[in-house]
Symmetry: C2
Subunit: 298 residues, 2 copies
Amino acid sequence: MSVEELIARERVEVEAALDRVMPAPQRWPARLHEAMRYAVMAGGKRVRPILARLSYAAAGGNPAEITEAVCGLELIHTYSLVHDDLPSMDDDVLRRGRPTVHVAFDEATAILVGDALLTEGLLVLATRPGGPEWAARRAEAVAVVAAAISSRGMVGGQMADLEATGQIDRSTEPTADDLERIHAAKTGRLIRASVELGAVLAGVEDVTLQSRYGERLGLAFQVADDVLDAVGSVDEIGKSPGKDAEAGKLTFVTLHGIDAARRKLNELEEELVEVASSIEGDDGDLAAMAKFVTRRKS
Amino acid sequence: MSVEELIARERVEVEAALDRVMPAPQRWPARLHEAMRYAVMAGGKRVRPILARLSYAAAGGNPAEITEAVCGLELIHTYSLVHDDLPSMDDDVLRRGRPTVHVAFDEATAILVGDALLTEGLLVLATRPGGPEWAARRAEAVAVVAAAISSRGMVGGQMADLEATGQIDRSTEPTADDLERIHAAKTGRLIRASVELGAVLAGVEDVTLQSRYGERLGLAFQVADDVLDAVGSVDEIGKSPGKDAEAGKLTFVTLHGIDAARRKLNELEEELVEVASSIEGDDGDLAAMAKFVTRRKS
């Protein structure tokens, strides 16, 4: 099976579970639930829940057991996109080829959609899989993910990113180290947590290798994103390209150039394939995911 | 001990614990952590963590064991205030006598402060009290609180409130029933969850009475708030009074009048004192809290 087939098969599972865990669109208040679905059901690669499933399978588990739980990662990822797109943040009007939530609905609704998706994501992790035998792992699952998206993780990265791009006051110029720290927090932490989550739900006690793999994959993901922003088209990436350079945004590409970014992706791919092969029980899917991320075209 | 002394003593415990669970203000990114503390350390009655402690004590527990955990309620309550105050929501510039977060900092920072406080609140509940013997109760704690603040609870209430006040499009006029539903969701659910949380952390299996008490107390809290908005001064309530009527906001007072609101508070107080007396082990503190809420002047 090619990695594209693997991901296509995984996506079907994840999207069916997303539909089950999301509140029905007609539930009160309908406007909010419709907007939540608009945001979540817009496509997307579903990389985070897929990573958690593959990591769970590598640890010997049957991924069907945790599909609903790990949908929490996708709800949380979507919340971060909806809030990042807001006018006072990155001010994006297009996401995955469609108007962003605050454009399709309004700003207040978009803020509440983000709040509700964040809450729902952690609620799903706190309640699934059901049954008392899973309770301890559920608490650990919430802890791993909430720490990753906290003020020291994803949200902190977005704050530092806004400061670094001068969108709000700052006193000093950002450095290349700042950039790396920002990426690691803003994008890397949730991807790392996704890989860790699969292992934690499988009862793995030492998740060092999963953390390493997740951390490098997160970096690869961000560098690939920066490359795509620099060279992609609207059709390929589903949003306005070249926005980073235009906005004076600090990215791997604007800082080190496109060639260095591509070399970095090659190095990361090699390292990731090696770490993946050390993770017990991995049947090559994690290595395939690494190649998919470093070579992705959209 | 008077209820004022009880609350003063409780507040000292809660504020010391808040200081311990909040990330240090100098931590990266400092702007975010300073703003989080600005929002949380602005005073406030700390009613939600206090209710959880009293409910835990009524169930026979030593409240010191859960003080850090129930601080999660206060972080979450603060997140809801910071987001509700945003320009695209209620557009408030004053809160507890000080500039709101988006005024003191900026809008993007205020959105991220809310996101970070929500995350931190659930993270605190997922990790405290520490130790494997608490793991199942921690998962349950996150579940109870996250459900209360979800799109069917607090966030849904805020969405419906914005629709009802015409701040965003709506197709039908709201009714008195709508008002009750909005209040129950927006304010009532988290207060009810606070009382439930104390019982859940104490291992109580049937929390029906705690739910009833919390639900009526939440209603009393909201009606008292509406009365204060109508008749209070800036000094007393720390925010601009009369804003509800001005904004055409649907409240118990604008809908039924001030006399009906005061009668409702008397009825609720009687009912609450009775329910409190049925909660096993209550030494009168929950009844005292009920009186405090229905009679509060700020």
